[in-house]
Amino acid sequence: MSLSAVIVAAAAAAEDAAEAGGLPQLDMSTWPSQLFWLAVTFGILYWLMAGRFLPAIGGAIEERRDRIADDLDQASDFKRQADEAEDAYNQSLADAKAKAQSIAADTRAEVDAEIAEMQVETDAKLQEKLDAAEARIAEMKEEATAKVDEAAADATRAIVERLIDEAPTDDAVARAMTNIAR
């Protein structure tokens, strides 16, 4: 039996085995077709992935990452501005408070001064009136005393005239009254 005949027989036997339920995976006649279509589909898929789909997805992810980073930057910027505004507000509030306090103190001092001035003025006026009243009282007292003296002198003169039927001189009356008063 020649070698080629053995090979042919073996190949026929293998074919029989495959038809009888051998492993389809080992049927080499299907390999070229499988390899060809694998190359075609895998090649097309790689070409589309590398050229189109992956750059598109990567670009979108990148863009989102940039956008988020930008937004975060902007947010921190806004926060800084807000902090600055708050500081400025607090500063102006403190300034206003201080100013209000100084105005209040000024006004109080002014009012106090005015009150003191008015008090002095009023006191002076009252003193003046008091002095005038005292002067008048003193004058009236003097006047009254003079009138009492006169009345006493008259009475003295009248009493003496009645007693001795002689009118005493004014000097004598005055002397007598002075003596009595002494």
């Binding site: 077709s33 390899l35 060809f36 694998l38 895998f42 863009e63």
Partner: protein
Amino acid sequence: MNTFRAASPMEQFEIVRLVDLSLGSIDISLTNSALWMLICTGAIIIFFAAATRRAAIIPNRLQSTAEVLYEFVSDLVRDTIGAEGRRFFPYVFTLFLWILIANLFGLIPTLPGLPHAAHTFTTTSHLVVTLALAMLTITIVIVYGFWKNGLGFFKLFAPSGLPFYMYPLLVPIEVVSFLSRPLSLAIRLFANMFAGHIILKLFAGFVVSLIGAGGVFAAVGILPFLGATAVTALEFLVAFLQAYVFAILTCIYLNDAVHAADH
């Protein structure tokens, strides 16, 4: 005779010719495998075309999903390879998505009564497909490794900082481990898909056989049905996990190519 008939568990892996095509002497017929590659790839393209149609700052649902996938693979590439891994990102992303969707679409149940050509087909359950993807990864690793590091790429097989007498032992081990990478990469994915679908088919076959037997057996059929349901849930996890494992191992191997001279 009843009409219930459990197909052979191998039937789901059979390649069915739909349209005969050839390129010179090479047979490039459109088969069910090719059809499902086109369906998966077409679905991915339609999804991403819709997701990126109006890329916006505030994404809609489609864009959010695409961005989650993007960030997932992007983080994977960056964490494993570093900044230089950026240039491999489209490759790893395409690889991950192509495998993930092929695995997941393979889990779509076939409507009963459809002709064999219209049955759901898992393209990653064929060794030649996973091997081709693994070889592509290793080819990129080797080509980029030599382009980037020159002969320094061979340092990959001789890690520095070891006593000299270790090298005769270590270098062959490293060489064998490097050469076995494409095989382990390819067989891991293929075997997981293959085995998962066989188990699913076996459980489903039990259900059909038991119902076909009728009577008490039909009632017992609930057990393999529950089993098939559980395995289906597991297969969704495996579908994702194997795509992820393929992608992360690709990243680890690419990392070797990028940083071979640093070893």
